[in-house]
């Protein structure tokens, strides 16, 4: 019998609402730029396209993706399929939504709990915080959760996770600082099986995707996981900071290669950065964006919705 553990039953606050509420943002983002573009100008000319290019670039969409989007637009303009600037805006928006929707896929099914969620990413991306938020989320859905403190490297990383454990009333499996991450993981998975919990969420140390030895450590953790639970991990989430520029694509590529990433969590969207590099990541690596982080509190995590996200870029 298959159970869907990752589904959520409670109605969600809309992503757009949350992105609009929260801290009052300075309107210097794409929105303002696009308004500049469209203000008082109806005809599409080279200047409009230029400014549009800048607008897309400033959201970290990247030169390549931006040029492709604009090329599409240009063709339509040449064929007189686009009358004015507002149609152009609509076209671009739909295109980006399509790109993001193309990678959407159902949450993984788990034949038998525990469902194992690995959380990986570069240093400081927001992994541990995201884990706290995920624990909160699963607990709200009435699930039992166990956290695994497999960042044994960074100073006080274990204590940080323990605070999140307390906040969300979730047990944390830990060992001493400096111990082998795979050993902690093994313990946690055994404990999860014995206690029959629904979820194990594994915190890993931040690592740059270029460090081969640290990336190899993730492979080892994957092997350990499979030894205890053959079809695990069920979800491997790459945490990506929305302020990240074009390097995000390389991060996603490398972590997918070695850790088998199955989805992205885009954090710090409560700032002014848009994390537009996820558009390129979606296109090139076909990875779904699962959640977005919109603050530092336990409930500041929302499911990703392509339309709301794109709307927050354009409206």
């Amino acid at each position: 019998m298959f159970k869907t553990l990752f589904g959520s039953e409670t109605p969600e606050p809309s992503l757009l609402d949350r992105l609009k509420s929260g801290i009052q943002k300075t309107r210097t983002g794409l929105v303002e730029k696009l308004e500049d573009v469209f203000q008082g100008r109806k005809e599409i000319d080279a200047d409009v396209l230029d400014e549009l290019e800048y607008a897309l670039l400033s959201a970290d969409i990247g030169v390549k993706t931006t040029q492709e989007i604009l090329e599409r637009a240009r063709q339509r303009v040449d064929r007189h399929m686009l009358g004015d600037a507002s149609e152009l805006k609509q076209l671009i928006r739909e295109h980006v939504v399509e790109v993001l929707q193309a990678t959407e896929r159902p949450l993984p099914q788990v034949s038998q709990p525990p469902a194992v969620v690995m959380v990986v990413g570069v240093n400081g991306a927001g992994k541990t915080t995201t884990i706290g938020k995920l624990a909160q989320r699963f607990r709200n859905e009435g699930r039992s959760v166990l956290l695994c403190a497999a960042d044994t490297f960074r100073a006080a990383a274990i204590e940080q996770l323990e605070v999140w454990g307390e906040r969300t009333q979730t047990d944390v499996i830990r060992q001493q600082a400096g111990s082998d991450p795979s050993a902690v993981l093994f313990d946690a998975l055994q404990a999860a099986k014995a206690r029959k919990v629904d979820y194990v969420i594994v915190d890993t140390a931040g690592r740059l995707h270029t460090k081969t030895n640290l990336m190899a450590e993730l492979e080892k953790m994957d092997r350990t996981t499979k030894r205890v639970i053959p079809d695990a991990p069920h979800e491997v989430l790459l945490v990506l900071d929305a302020t990240t520029g074009q390097n995000g694509l390389e991060q996603a590529r490398k972590f997918t290669e070695t850790a088998g990433v199955t989805g992205i969590v885009l954090t710090k969207l409560d700032g002014t950065a848009k994390g537009g590099v996820v558009v390129a990541i979606s296109r090139e690596l076909n990875l779904p964006i699962r959640y977005v982080g919109v603050g530092e509190k336990a409930d500041d995590l929302l499911p990703f919705e392509p339309e709301s996200y794109v709307a927050s870029l354009f409206d």
Partner: protein, 453 residues
């Protein structure tokens, strides 16, 4: 991953030969490539625009120097301009006339403030200072604990305060403690915050008022994209930052944010973080970061690899041989073997000064398989042939081809390449003009055999 800017420019200038000047037309395509390269490196698009304008101005009407190809000339202009923008000299930390000096460490969440604080403490104590660290991050779970662990590991003093203390109380406590223990520097680690979080920005302003810091250092992640301009600008407006620490430069991010931050704040980059260990902090070198932003980091590290893998003595011996015309096919083979350990060569070749015997290198394609053939061919020669290539006549060439499983044509090619390489390497050992000439000259680079044109 990224195509080297000089490769791109090379393509652009392929047809330039014969035109004496860099003109509006031939520069246009080049500038487009430069623009794309900078955007890919995450330089803010407005900064890119400014930058392109100033490069254009510099380049217009310049004579193409005979010593440099147009590509290299433009690369040189771009590099020089970028180094200038990044700050030509290395900015040092400033200290108060009356100790203690206070260094306030600020920045966005996850940028690397705590790690940088402890690295700075170590750096300063190594330089004869007595730093006192204090974390006023009362928000992120276990943030103060993190600094406490690092301080303990480094055996350097930390003001802990009590759990209930507010940031301002902690800051005042650190000040008292510093004078009690005779610390001459206070390093204040602050909580990560968004530049648009007004309450928390006000908190920083208050802390600044209490401590009157000599330095307010903005810590920025090298992977930051276009947003770097907004956050740096806001931190600067609110606090008047006095310097920047660029972290996580040990990854493969091009680090264009450095240029953006520098140009929006006007404040110097002071340090670069290159790892998680406490000594992975380096003074900022504008030229290195410029290379990195332009995608030439690989060339630089290749040069470093050459430096590492070639032992000085054999390099000197090689140089002597070259000067005395004793550089044999055997030496040639050894060089190839050594070079093959270094990885792809094309990027390095593209950067070579294109003059004298090296001008033919411009469009060289390096086929790595060819190296294997070359080694096989030389292995099939007799010791005498290897020492004196002049004796290798037609009959010998046929024999060598058979023995190495190659063709006479390939053996001929090899011998031609060998004589070319000899000529070329001789010019390396002398003083050399061009961008990398000096650096390569210093390294006594042993030469580049084996390219089929």
């Amino acid at each position: 991953m990224f195509e080297n800017l000089s490769d791109k420019l090379q393509r652009v200038f392929k047809n330039l030969r014969g035109e004496g000047k860099l003109s509006a037309e031939n520069m246009e395509a080049a500038l487009r490539e430069i623009r794309v390269a900078l955007l890919e490196a995450d330089v803010h698009f407005k900064v890119v625009k400014q930058f392109i304008d100033s490069v254009k101005e510099k380049a217009m009407g310049q004579e193409v120097l005979s010593a440099l190809s147009p590509t290299q000339q433009v690369v040189k202009i771009v590099r020089d301009e970028m180094v200038k923008m990044l700050g030509t000299h290395q900015a040092k930390l400033r200290f108060a006339n009356e100790p203690p000096s206070t260094l306030m460490i600020v920045g966005l969440q996850g940028s690397g403030k705590t790690t940088s604080t402890s690295k700075l403490a170590k750096f300063l104590s190594k330089n004869g200072h007595k730093p006192l660290m204090c974390s006023v991050d009362v928000y992120r779970p276990a943030a103060r604990k993190q600094l406490a662990v690092l301080a303990r590991e480094l055996k350097l003093p930390l003001y802990e305060g009590s759990d209930a203390d507010k940031p301002a109380e902690l800051a005042r406590g650190a000040k008292r403690e510093a004078s009690q223990i005779g610390a001459d520097i206070i390093l204040l680690d602050t909580a990560g915050r968004l530049h648009i979080d007004d309450d928390l920005m006000v908190e920083l302003e208050e802390l600044k008022g209490i401590l009157n810091p000599t330095e307010v250092l903005f810590v920025a992640d090298a992977m930051t994209g276009q947003d770097a301009v907004k956050s740096a600008d806001e931190f600067h407006k609110r606090l008047g930052i006095t310097g920047v620490i660029l972290t996580k430069m040990d990854g493969d991010a091009r680090g264009g944010a450095a240029l953006s931050i520098r140009s929006v704040t006007g404040q110097p980059l002071k340090f670069v973080g290159v790892g998680e260990k406490s000594d992975a902090l380096e003074p900022f070198h504008p030229d290195r970061v410029a290379n990195r932003i332009l995608g030439m980091g690989d060339v630089l590290s290749l040069i470093e690899k050459v430096e590492e893998s070639i032992d000085r003595k054999s390099a000197e011996e090689m140089q002597r041989k070259l000067l005395d015309d004793e550089f044999t096919l055997e030496d040639f083979r050894d060089q190839i073997k050594q070079l093959r350990k270094l990885g792809p060569l094309e990027s390095l070749l593209g950067m070579m000064p294109q003059l004298g015997p090296m001008k033919d290198l411009k469009n060289v394609k390096v086929d790595e398989r060819e190296f294997t053939n070359i080694v096989a061919i030389i292995d099939s020669m007799t010791a005498q042939e290897r020492r004196n290539h002049m004796i290798i006549n037609g009959a010998r060439r046929r024999r060598i081809a058979r023995g190495s499983g190659t063709t006479v044509q390939e053996v001929n090619n090899l011998l031609k390449q060998y004589t070319q390489a000899r000529k070329m390497m001789k010019s390396f050992t002398g003083a050399n003009a061009g961008m990398l000439g000096k650096r390569l000259g210093k390294l006594k680079l042993p030469g580049f055999p084996g390219f089929g044109g």
